[in-house]
Symmetry: C2
Subunit: 138 residues, 2 copies
DNA sequence: GTACGTGCAAAACATTTGCAAAATT
DNA sequence: AATTTTGCAAATGTTTTGCACGTAC
């Protein structure tokens, strides 16, 4: 099981050229405009399979849409994502992991797992967005 | 704006009798079986309004479904949720907040916000589930 | 040659929305 | 009486699925 199809290769290739988290539809669209012929269902099926096997990171956006990204760190890590441009920074937080394990233990919980995603504005979009919020420059 | 309708009151009442996180559909179903007559759209609209005003906590499940719950702590806090029964423990983690702010700052991110949810097995479901995973007792 | 993967269109979901009728203030 | 809320059904948007066909092995 798990064959090397042209589509699977193309999806992986597209992902490797991708910086930020992208939805299945965005990835599909990207591929189409790159001249690839792939069905949307195939993109969905492969993204799912790839994330299941840990080769892809999944992030559930606030509206429930799933976003995918090929991360550099293959182990457990978290993301700092820019709300404006999707720019992503991976980070580790061992202390954080430890305190979460401790809290879980205090309450008798086992087999603990967690999701942590941090959203903010990267350097490039911080000032700009603040200005917009005020309705323009002073 | 914001009138006191029978439906809104019923929704709040139903939520107050609720221990765990529930989806809009589950809440609607619950109300129907309690004899309330409410439209599903009304439940959605009210849950949304209530969470917007901070009277309700929202949790986006892994599959993108939104789950609601009336929490005791009205401020910022996190959840430790049992994967089996949905049992929820609220907790604060100031150290964690601090280190996340620090990490964001290191990377120049501002207006930082984060989502953190911890999933595990509560005391009641820990052993049982472990046995199931092995396909029975040794 | 056979089993797995693909493509398409239809189905399945959760959620949102338009609009007329009903209820609140 | 004015205006918000409701209820229903239809619309929306994402993801899944059934099934015939194509393809990797």
């Amino acid at each position: 099981m798990q064959r090397n199809t042209r589509q699977r290769a193309a999806i992986l290739e597209t992902l490797s050229r991708q910086e930020d988290f992208r939805s299945a539809q965005q990835i599909h669209e990207q591929m189409r405009s790159d001249g690839e012929t792939v069905g949307l269902a195939t993109v969905y099926r492969n993204l799912q399979a790839l994330s299941r096997s840990g080769r892809l990171d999944v992030l559930v956006a606030g509206d429930g849409e799933s976003l995918y990204r090929q991360c550099e760190d293959t182990g457990h890590h978290h993301h700092l994502v820019c709300r404006e441009c999707g720019r992503t920074v991976e980070f580790l937080a061992p202390k954080l992991e430890a305190s979460m394990t401790a809290i879980a233990q205090e309450h008798g919980f086992t087999e603990v797992d967690h999701t942590l995603e941090v959203f903010g504005l990267c350097t490039e979009h911080a000032a700009q967005s603040a200005a917009e919020d005020e309705g323009g420059t002073r």
